[in-house]
Symmetry: D2
Subunit: 148 residues, 4 copies
């Protein structure tokens, strides 16, 4: 049986304040966009983080590893599309992929590895299992829902 | 003959505005710190970007690939050290490594690949050769970058 | 004759990265939203800044005075509306007002005084007259289009 | 009896990422600097916010009114000084003044009105009395705030 990867796409207008004196997006701002896009991905799946974090008893999904590659710059006023999907589910971690398109051009790619984390009494963070109801909706690129 | 890697260390106080509702640094802000640290690395070598960019006829050193891994969080008021060095010189690109220490703890590691770039008449960017005077001062680590 | 104030409204979702350890928007981020809203106001009037700046021969409309008052906080995931209008046109300066609504609640108010500025050969900025075609469309709160 | 206003000065290097395509500081970033400067002011007085907030039972000192005026721009690499002092103590609120100097030039001025705030069980914020030990150290200017 074939399953279809769950993808979300958001529109983003490049803002003046996103850009630097070279008149291109200051790259740390792409990570703000990616974080926004991951939240939008969960929201599109029915798990809007602002309420879902509380419902699932987590503080959030902090980043443990992230990478971005930049093929071509984006400039003030450019209208871009950020396409996002889950690349892989682990037991308490998961991977997300983002692609930023400027018209037909693939401009920036992003990779994230995050942990599904609860806050412990001493203030430290602890990974906990990603709920099945989340895995079932947000099908990853490889179609596998099993624990890795 | 042994040569010594050129390293720079800067102190940074984690600011309230660097942190998110989980009370830890919002990770895109680490990339702001890394960018600051790369500029400080060049400045420590005698090539303060604000003037050196103009002298070398470049618009800057835009990012083409960057990655960070997060071992432990940092919080408001934490005093961290960001240690930076050139990992490798290419002809018109170079790699930088950053390590953020919170007291004795290695908290965040950053990797950057940047290009030494001039602006062309049509507004696009073009890589150009990193000057020898820069390479001679900013001695890289042994150049092995196996894991990325 | 009555004229109608030109107003624009944009939707904005409060992002995780907009918020601080008190779990409310870190106030400098409201100024990012206001800047975005001013650009959107001009775009709604047919003067999208990315292209209009060049057409009108200006570098932008840098801020000379801005103020914001905060009546109630906004939190991660809140959906807010930012309503913006021109409060007054001067010869080469203008005033903008923003109101952020969270449902029926007026949460934040912003005031801006900006200058319509060209870049001079020495790199400094110089105010120049706001074009009539802009004034005619973007009617201010008081309905007056004359120079002040 | 004469008393001396308590003032703190911090050095700040204008970063690449602070600046926009006009090659000047994107003004919302001045508010980040001012927030940093207010925290530094309290720290200089012996009340480093990261620990003092907890000791005094407050969540922080959220902003209720802030304003900045911009006399001249600052650019990448500029070394500026931010001078800060308490302008006035209220019962549960206080006013701060910041001045950014670029060499001998007064470039930006900032005004803040904040509230000394505790978090209530329902998540809302409530002003509470500023402790006398804080007022006694952080002596204000003469208290006249005519123009705001």
């Amino acid at each position: 049986m074939m399953t279809k990867m769950f993808e979300n796409r958001i529109d983003w207008r490049i803002e003046w304040g996103d850009c630097d004196p070279a008149a291109i997006v200051f790259y740390p701002n792409y990570f703000r966009m990616f974080n926004m896009a991951t939240d939008a991905l969960f929201e599109a799946a029915g798990f809007a983080p602002a309420s879902a974090f509380e419902r699932f008893g987590i503080i959030g999904y902090p980043m443990i590893d992230t990478r971005a590659t930049f093929a071509s710059p984006n400039r003030f006023g450019d209208q871009v599309i950020i396409a996002s999907h889950i690349a892989k589910w682990g037991r308490s971690s998961f991977e997300v992929r983002h692609s930023i398109f400027n018209q037909s051009r693939l401009s920036v790619e992003g990779f994230e590895k995050r942990v599904w984390a609860a806050s412990q009494p001493d203030g430290s963070l602890k990974g906990c299992a990603v709920p099945d109801e989340v895995r079932k909706v947000m099908l990853p690129a490889d179609g596998r829902m099993d624990h890795v």
